[in-house]
C-alpha cells in the first residue's frame, strides 16, 4: 500500500496532466474526425481557462459551476471561429488557426484586467484527480455515443470525401460546424482543468506548447477512434517523465526520437480501427477458407 501511495505521489501529477491533455486531444480529435486540421483548441482552452480562473477567483464560483461556464465560453468562441474560418480551404485553415493561436497570446498579454497580463493569475481552486477523471469519463461517454451515432457516420464520410458526402445529402459545413462546437466545449473544459491543476495561469500557458502537445497526442494515439486521443495523451505525457528517468541528459532529444519512430512505423497511430478491421477480415477469411477446406475434404 505504501509503495502504491509513493508511486501515486510521484506520478500522480503525470496522470493528472495526462487527463488534462486527453481533454485537449479529444477537442482536436472532434474537428480532425471531420477532416479539419485546426489548432484553435488552444484558443478555446484559453477562453475556458481564464474564464474559470476569473469566475472562481473574483466571484468565488465553486469548481463544478466554473466548468460549465468554461464549456460555454469555449463553445461560444468555437462558434465565432467556425463562422469565420470554415469557408477557408483546408491548408489555409491550418495556417489561419495557427495564426489565431499567436493572436490569442498577444491579446491575452495586452488585456491584464482579464488575464493578469505577463504576471498571470493565481487560481484559488484545485481540482482533485478523481474529479478530473469523472469529467474525462463524461466527455468520453459523449464521444463514444457520438461515434456510434448518425453524426459519427456522417463525420467519417465528410472526412473521407466531402464531395461524395454532400451528394449523399450530408452538409459538410453543418457537420464541421457542429464538430467545432464540440471541440470548443471540450477545449474550454480542458483549459479550465489545466487552470485548476496548475493553479496558476498566464498567457504563456495557452500557447504553441499546448497546440503541438494536443495534435501530437491525437495523431500519436490515432485520429480514427475516440480512444486514440486519450491513449495518445497518456503516452505523450508520460514520455518526458520516462525519458527523464532513463536518459536525463538528453531527455528532449529522446522524446523527439520516440515520437519520430512511432509516427514512421505507425503512421495511423496506436489505436487504428482499420487495422482491427483488417485483422478481423483476415481472420474471417481464414475461417471461411478452413471451412471450405473442411468441406472439400468431406466431399473428397
Amino acid at each position: 500500500m505504501e509503495t502504491f501511495l509513493d508511486l501515486w505521489a510521484a506520478y500522480g501529477s503525470t496522470v493528472t496532466f495526462a487527463m488534462v491533455n486527453a481533454l485537449f486531444a479529444l477537442s482536436t480529435y472532434a474537428v480532425l474526425s471531420t477532416g479539419v486540421l485546426s489548432f484553435t483548441t488552444v484558443v478555446f482552452a484559453a477562453v475556458g481557462g481564464f474564464l474559470a480562473a476569473q469566475l472562481s477567483g473574483k466571484f468565488g464560483l465553486p469548481l463544478w459551476a466554473a466548468f460549465p461556464a468554461a464549456a460555454l465560453g469555449g463553445g461560444f468562441a468555437a462558434a465565432v471561429v467556425a463562422f469565420a474560418f470554415l469557408r477557408l480551404e483546408s491548408h489555409w485553415m491550418a495556417l489561419a488557426s495557427l495564426a489565431l493561436v499567436l493572436i490569442t497570446r498577444v491579446t491575452a498579454l495586452n488585456a491584464p484586467a482579464l488575464t493578469g497580463g505577463v504576471n498571470g493569475l493565481i487560481v484559488p481552486v484545485r481540482v482533485e484527480p478523481l474529479e478530473l477523471a469523472i469529467l474525462l469519463a463524461l466527455c468520453t461517454v459523449v464521444f463514444w455515443r457520438l461515434h456510434r451515432s448518425w453524426f459519427g457516420l456522417a463525420s467519417r464520410a465528410v472526412r473521407e470525401d466531402a464531395a461524395v458526402a454532400s451528394t449523399m445529402g450530408i452538409s459538410p459545413y453543418r457537420i464541421q460546424f457542429i464538430a467545432f462546437l464540440i471541440s470548443g466545449v471540450v477545449g474550454g473544459l480542458g483549459g479550465a482543468a489545466l487552470a485548476f491543476t496548475l493553479q496558476f495561469i498566464s498567457p504563456e500557458t495557452y500557447f504553441i506548447g499546448i497546440a503541438f502537445t494536443m495534435i501530437a497526442s491525437t495523431v500519436l494515439g490515432g485520429s480514427f477512434h475516440w480512444l486514440g486521443p486519450i491513449i495518445g495523451a497518456a503516452v505523450f505525457t508520460a514520455l518526458p517523465t520516462t525519458m527523464q528517468a532513463i536518459v536525463p541528459q538528453i531527455e528532449d532529444v529522446a522524446k523527439g526520437v520516440v515520437l519520430l519512430l512511432i509516427m514512421i512505423f505507425l503512421p495511423r497511430g496506436l489505436i487504428d480501427p482499420r487495422a482491427w478491421g483488417l485483422k478481423k477480415a483476415a481472420k474471417l477469411r481464414e475461417e471461411t477458407e478452413a471451412k471450405r477446406a473442411a468441406e472439400r475434404d468431406a466431399h473428397a
Binding site: F85, H91, A99, T107, N110, D252, I264, P267
Partner: protein, 295 residues
Amino acid sequence: MQLFVEQLINGWALGSLYALFGIGFGLVFSTLGILNAAHGTYASWAAIAGYYAVERFGVPFPVAIAAGVIGGGLLAVVVDQIGFQPLRAKKTGMLGALITSIAFWIILDSLAGFATGQQSLAFPAASYPNQMVVMGPLRVPQMQIITIVALLVCTIGIHLLIQKTRIGAAMRAVGWNEVAAALGGVNARMVILLTAFLAGATSGLAGVLGGISTSNVSFTLGEGLMLKGFAAVVVGGYDDVRGTAIAGICLGIIEVFVAQYISTSFRDGFTYMLLLAFLIARPRGLFGSASFVRA
C-alpha cells in the same frame, strides 16, 4: 525626417529577414504540402554552422554565409528524407508530416542548445562588414544593405526559377498533384529534394544574416524568425514568393514604426491584428491566386 528614414531602413532590413525566412517556409508548404514546425531550426543551425566556421576555421565572411546556406539546405534534405519521405508512401497527408516535423523541432532545438553551450553567441565584430555607410545625413550599417540586397536577389531568382524554367514547372506540377506530375514524366523525387534544399538554404540565409546582425546565435533565433516569417507567408500568400517578400518587408516596417511612434506593447498585437484582418478579408494573401485549390 532623418529618424523617419533611418527607421524605415531599419524596418526594411528587419522585414527582409522575415521575408527570406518566410520564402523557405512557404516553398515547402506550397510544393510539398508540409506544415513544417522544424523550419525555424534550419535558421538556427545555419547560423550555428556559420558561427563555428568563423570561430574554428577563421573563414572570411562570404564563406561563413555559404557554410550557413549550404548547412541549412543539407539539414532540410536530411529532415525531409528521414522524417517526411517514409510517410509519402503511406499517404498520411499533412498530418503525419506535421507530427514528424514537431519531433524534429524538439530534437534539433534541443541539440542547438547543446551546440551553443546554452549560450547566445555572437559573430566576432571583425568577421563581418560592420562599418556604417554614410549617405548624406544617413548612416546605414553595411549588414542592412547586404540583407536587403539578399532578399531582392533571392525573390527575383526564385520567382524566375518557379515561373520560367522547366524545374520550376516541375515544382509547380508536384505542388499541384504529385501523382499526376509523376505520370506526366516529372521526376518527383528529384523535385522534392531540390525544393527541400532550396527552402532550407533560403531560410538558412535568413538565419545566418540574422545571427550576424542581431548578435544572437542560439536556438531562439529560429523561433523568432518562425513566428514573424509565418505571418509574412500568411499575409503574402504562400504560393507566391513576391507576396511573401512584400508582406515581410511591410511587417518589418510596421513593427519598427509602431514601436517608434505608438508603443512597444502594441507592436506584436498590431502585426497579428493585421494577420487576422488578412485571414478574414483576403484569405489567399496579397498575390494568392483565387483559383488555387490543392488537390
